[in-house]
Every structure is written in C-alpha cells, then in structure tokens.
Symmetry: C2
Subunit: 211 residues, 2 copies
DNA sequence: TGTTCTATCGAACAAGCGTTCCACGCGGGA
DNA sequence: TCCCGCGTGGAACGCTTGTTCGATAGAACA
C-alpha cells in the first residue's frame, strides 16, 4: 500500500467532513469542486486508488455510493436505550411496556453497540437516592438492564423483594430453596431470603455515572 | 404531529435498514421497489410527510439526500477513548503521553460523543482492586478521565497523594491552604490534607461498569 | 531518443434520479 | 349532490451523476 498523495488525502478529508455535515456522501462533482480539481475523471482516478488501498468502498454506477472504511471518522450505529423511569429502594422497579420501547421516546441514552452486547430488550433506569450504594451505585447513576426473569448464578440483577417491598441491586446465587443476594461491595454482608420472595426484574448490563 | 401510516413506517424502517447496510441513503426508486409502491410520486409524497414530522431531513434536488433525524438507527461519530492502563491505590495514576493518544491503539473503548462532552484530551483507566469503593468504583470498572491539572470545587478528580503515595478518586474542595477530599459515598468521611500534598491528575468524566 | 508509467484534462454519453403534472377513486361534510 | 382533502397512479421532463474515451504532458529509465 503506497502513501497517499496530497490530493488523495484532501479528497479523503473532504469526504469525511461532508458526511459528518450532511449524513450522506458527496457526489464526484462535489468532490471535484471542493478540492479544486479540474475534471471529474481525475476524481474518479483518485477514488479508484483510495478504493484499491482499502480506505473507501464504492458501489459502481450508484450515485454518492462512497463508504468510508477507515477507523477514524467511521460512523457506527448507536443504540438508543430508553430511560423508562427511576429506581429507588422503596419503589417497584419500572418494567418496560410496549409503549416505552418506542425509540421515539424523549428520554434515551445512546450507547455504542458493544456495550449492550447485541441484546435488544434493553432499557435503562435512573437511580434515585443513596439506597444502592451497597451495589456501588450512586444517586443519579444510570443502570442499563436487560429484561429477563431468568438469571444465572452470580449475575447482578435488579430484584424486587415482595415481603420487604423493596427494590435492590445484588448478585444472585441460588442455594437450594433459598437465595443469597450478595452486594457488589465485597466488604458488605449478603442477604438470605426465600426464593419465592425474590422477583427478578432484569439483569444489569451496564452502570454508567456521568457526574 | 400525526401518527405514521403503515406505509410511512415501512419507508422509515427501510431507510434505516438500507443505511445500516450500505452507509449511504437509498434513492427514491429504491424505496419504491423495496416497499412495493407503485409510483415514485407516492414515495415523494410520503417522504414529505416524514420530513414535515421531523423524522427525516432532505436536501432538495440532490440524490440520496435523506438524513435520519430519529435517535434510533441514526449514526453518530463514535469517539475512541484509549485505555492507557490500570489504576490502583498504591500505584501512580498512568498519565497519557503522545503515543497513547493514538486511536489505533489496541485497547480502546468507544463512547458516544455526548458522554465525553466535546472534550478531546480524554483517556480511560481500568480500576484494579477494591480500594476505590469509597468512590463507588468497583474492581474492573472503567474510569474515563479528562487530563487536566485544574479542577473546580466539587468535581471528582483522580488525585495522587504524594506523602501517602496513594492514588484516590474523590471530590475536591479547596479550603484555604488545605484540601478536602470528599468520597462520593455520602456516608463516608472526608480526608483533609495540605494543598501541596495533592496532585490532580485528571477530572473524572464518566464511570462505566460492564460486569 | 524512445518507451512506459503516472497524472491530468475536456468532453460526451447514458443511466439514474428528483420533481412535477394531471388524472382517478374514495370518504366526509355542507 | 357537489366539493374538497387525501392518498394513489402513471408518465414525462430535465438536471445530476458515474463512467468512458481520446489526448496531453512530465518524469523515470534504458
């Protein structure tokens, strides 16, 4: 792979800039104009070189069909996770309904796809109050959860304790008919309760703190 | 804003899908074909409605000039933050050098731009050990920091205590010649020390926990 | 000096493309 | 019944756009 000529570098930069501004790629003649190139064939010539070097991908015979392949400036799909409510000790955990899945909702947090790991039934709640500090979750933190009733041992879950009428974030361990709820904070003691008393509302996927 | 007709919803979904696959928007005739619409004018008619509802943006007279405005499926530039090392109580905090800024580095975490808030001198460290639990930061958490020596009162900073040879994450308050280091955990007590003993390595931008 | 490769230039072609116009059917309201 | 808005169909217009072709000039090399 050869080095890029100044002209090719400039073309690449312009494509980046243009996509960043318009959300769709430029036409060859727009590249020509912006980079002060006298002919469209010269643009085509240099685009072929860029394509050969693996920096862009082009669909032939299709207008504006330039796709950036370089890591810098490449765009990724961001996953919009709806924030469906708040979670606090004495309140039931909000459960997503059909409506709250609407991605047109107001309150969303955008995350890179690898942070939700391909899961699609993912929602987020905002933590209210200091009751979750034993899970190392602060007031105002955002907890991203996957809606599920099942959880493997050792996974951090949002659980509703029916008898105590209390929501909590703990690591779940089944021990016979009982359940051990272990705080993330290793210095704190676990809670033991009957399996029937625990209602798993979701698995914790990520915790995010933006001060 | 009216509700979308099934046809409009289908068009919107197709545009999303197409962009996701090709990295450039579809033409009107491609929408027509994919959504089994008999005429291009019908597509245009519905696109105008989508535009009026603020779901897309179109540049007139320009081919493939459809831009998605809805959060779902929109593509955003992702910021690649380099993870330059680990942070532990008894270790100095790693400081980014010219080389570690390289976005071609192996260990990076991609974040949506609003999570780094336009700051560009941002790096991340992985937390090792349980020594930061008073900052509600767990073993394995990732702390995103902005490199700066200055910090306003009340901001969470990564500080190096020279005398104690200790790294810590605390909220910083200047009180005369002394400094109060307040844990994020409201139930824990602050530390007081001389201003000269504290070396601010960076401000905490975000804390992320991916179990 | 002749050859070859690289880069450029201008023009033209043909397909792709957004737009526009007119016509039609349908349903609701006056 | 007439009228009007809405959604649809079909076709044509004219600009946009990717592509192609021939010609040219300079550099490197034998």
């Amino acid at each position: 792979m050869k080095e890029l000529s100044p002209k090719q570098q400039r073309i690449l930069d312009f494509i980046r800039e243009f996509i960043s501004e318009h959300d769709y790629p430029p036409s060859i003649r727009q590249i020509q104009e912006a980079c002060v190139i006298s002919s469209t064939s010269v643009v085509d010539y240099n685009l072929r070189i860029l394509e050969k070097n693996g920096l862009i991908r082009r669909d032939r015979e299709v207008s504006r069909a330039i796709e950036l392949l370089t890591p810098a400036g490449r765009r990724q799909r961001v996953v919009a996770v709806p924030i469906i409510g708040t979670i606090a000790a004495g309140q039931p955990i909000p459960v997503p309904t059909e409506e709250t899945w609407s991605t047109y909702s107001e309150d969303v947090i955008e995350l890179p796809p690898d942070m939700v790991g391909g899961r699609d039934n993912v929602y987020a709640v905002r933590v209210k109050g200091d009751s979750m500090i034993d899970a190392l979750v602060n007031d105002g933190d955002i907890v991203v959860m996957e809606q599920t009733a099942a959880a493997a041992d050792g996974e951090m879950v949002a659980a509703w304790l029916k008898q105590e009428q209390e929501a909590t974030l703990k690591k779940l361990y089944r021990e016979g008919s009982r359940v051990r709820l272990q705080p993330a904070n290793a210095t704190m003691q676990p809670i033991y309760t009957e399996a029937g008393n625990v209602e798993v509302q979701g698995k914790v996927v990520t915790v995010i703190r933006v001060p």
